[in-house]
């Protein structure tokens, strides 16, 4: 599909999964080029930004006054602990090969933990991720159970933002057939292998639907306790949530107002973004991506040599 091509009308559904009369023209972001390589790279870099430094103690392995005995004593020349009267005396010290010595290249806190990513790159990745979430094929390939969802991209009326109770939230998900995805999350729950268990990362689960809203009027608290479901504000879309694992195609549920704001936030090709100064959507390398159709087209066929 080309730049100028179809921007279909997306119908808005109410919380009972009925199509309300309203339709919104699909924001141009969903027609942006999908670049899984950029998404992967940016995701990689971005995920490093949440790290906490770790390091070995600065003094570790050096809290001895060991000195080498030198040659002529029929022992190896590594520094040995001074004094006597204990097992420790005469033992090797300081080296990474010694027991109780310092490690090779002790880890330092001033390691470069965080990564800078260019704004445009970040935005490009973001845009690709959102565009990918609008293709049912990619969402299915990612693994979400969306076979019974009414439409992709899935836009819901703003009433969802006003939900207060988790019960209502569950009811909403059930009615809109998004609950299959949550079921999948429930079934995938398993204990993490390794030390992470004891470090507040006990349970592992798959990811469920992501709900993107414009204004939180109780929505976050309503959906908070449902496993796998995450909520996000349109203003601060998070690539780590839109493309978990660096792979595009998360199942997103948009609220109407959030959906409408996408054009303003990211711009259309015809107009720049209103909120990001000087930003416009990335221009694709190929405007018509359907190569087969291109090759069969008149213009090209006329020029190609006939097959032998």
């Amino acid at each position: 599909m080309s730049l100028a091509c179809s921007r279909p009308l997306i119908s808005v559904y109410n919380d009972k999964n009925e199509a309300t009369g309203t339709t919104i023209k699909m924001p141009m972001i969903f027609r942006a080029p999908i670049r899984p390589d950029i998404v992967n790279f940016v995701h990689d870099q971005m995920s490093k930004n949440h790290r906490q430094p770790y390091a070995v103690s600065r003094k570790a392995g050096h809290q001895t006054s060991a000195e080498s005995w030198g040659t002529g004593r029929a022992v190896a020349r590594i520094p040995r602990v001074r004094g006597g009267g204990t097992h420790r005396s005469g033992q090797g010290a300081f080296g990474n090969m010694c027991r109780g010595g310092r490690m090779f290249a002790p880890t330092k806190t001033w390691r470069r933990w965080h990564r800078k990513i260019n704004d445009t790159q970040k935005r490009h990745a973001m845009v690709s991720a959102v565009a990918a979430s609008g293709l049912p094929a990619l969402v299915m390939a990612k693994g979400h159970a969306i076979e019974k969802v009414a439409e992709i991209p899935f836009v819901v009326s703003d009433k969802v933002q006003e939900l207060q109770k988790t019960k209502e939230a569950v009811d909403f998900l059930r009615k809109t057939r998004a609950w299959n995805d949550v079921d999948k999350v429930y079934n995938s729950r398993r204990m993490r292998p390794g030390k992470g268990k004891a470090r507040n990362r006990r349970w592992l689960m798959k990811k469920g639907p992501l709900i993107i809203y414009n204004e939180d009027q109780g929505l976050t608290r309503a959906f908070r306790n449902i496993p796998g479901v995450e909520t996000l504000k349109v203003d601060s879309l998070n690539l780590l949530k839109l493309a978990p694992g660096g792979h595009v195609g998360r199942f997103c549920i948009w609220t109407e107002s959030a959906f409408k704001r996408l054009n303003d936030i990211y711009g259309t090709y015809a107009q720049f973004s209103k909120e990001k100064t000087g930003y416009n959507l990335p221009i694709p390398k190929m405007i018509t991506t359907d190569l087969v159709r291109l090759l069969r087209s008149e213009e090209i066929q006329r020029v190609i040599k006939k097959p032998k």
């Binding site: 279909p8 049912p136 094929a137 990619l138 390939a141 990612k142 009414a150 018509t288 991506t289 359907d290």
Partner: protein, 322 residues
Amino acid sequence: MSDDVVWSIINENLCSYKVKTKTQTFCRNEYNLTGLCNRATCPLANSQYATVREDKGICYLYMKTVERSAFPSKMWERVKLSKDLDKALRQINVNLIYWPKFMKAKCRQRFLKIQQYLIRMRKLRLRRQKKLTPVRLKIDRRETRREQKALIAARLDTNIEQELLKRLKEGTYGDIYNFSQVAFDKALDAEEMESEAEEGEKENESDEEETEINPEIERELEGEYEDSEEETHEFVEAEDSDIMSDEEDLEELNSRVTKLLEKSSQAESSSDGESADEESGPSKKRKLETKAKKKRKTGKKKMEIEYEIESSSLPKVKVVGR
């Protein structure tokens, strides 16, 4: 966007339906036509797609078009294929009339394959179906051992034997019956043992009495057996008793016993008092016999004891043999 873009993303990056083995890549998507992961057969990367699927023996033709690609709940159009093979094939042809040849051919092929396996399933259902049960080694081992133990615990042989003997005693088999020699001897021995045991008990008791009780009281007791002291047949130590051997003792005893018997038989008719003796005689004889037997079986010690007792209790009378 276009199928090519989707395919490049799915193929190179992540597709949750893709299963890779050393030789092939499979597609776990339920709507896949061939089950392999290919550009042409990927249901996700082709916006125009058709499959044949079977549900409870009924085949359906599923079709997907570009127009409905954004609506997952309505994406697949389902056409029920008739049970008649020819009609169904014609249905496929009609529904996929302007579709690419590849898709049509694959649909027909898949339909035929499904029909074949359905026929096979029906045939199998009619035959005897082998039920596969797993070999439960642990359980089997446990049960065989328990069976063995139960067999031993039942003690079938002894119970059967007892039952048969009981029936014999009751007389359900009548008089004539063929016994095995071994069993007969066994039974005999058993009975002898019983009777011996009884007498042995009596003997033991009497021996004890003799040791404990005074000789005078003994005489009184003995008096029950014998009326007159005159004709008391009492056994006396031989003069050279200490030097004598066991066997000789035995022989002596036996000889005395026989003499006693003769005497008693002679004196039978004469007096009533003798009758008592007679009674006492055989009883005594019996006693002696059993005592003798016991002596044979038991050791020297016992014999000595008995000797002493007898001599002390009874007045010494020399028996003159004829």
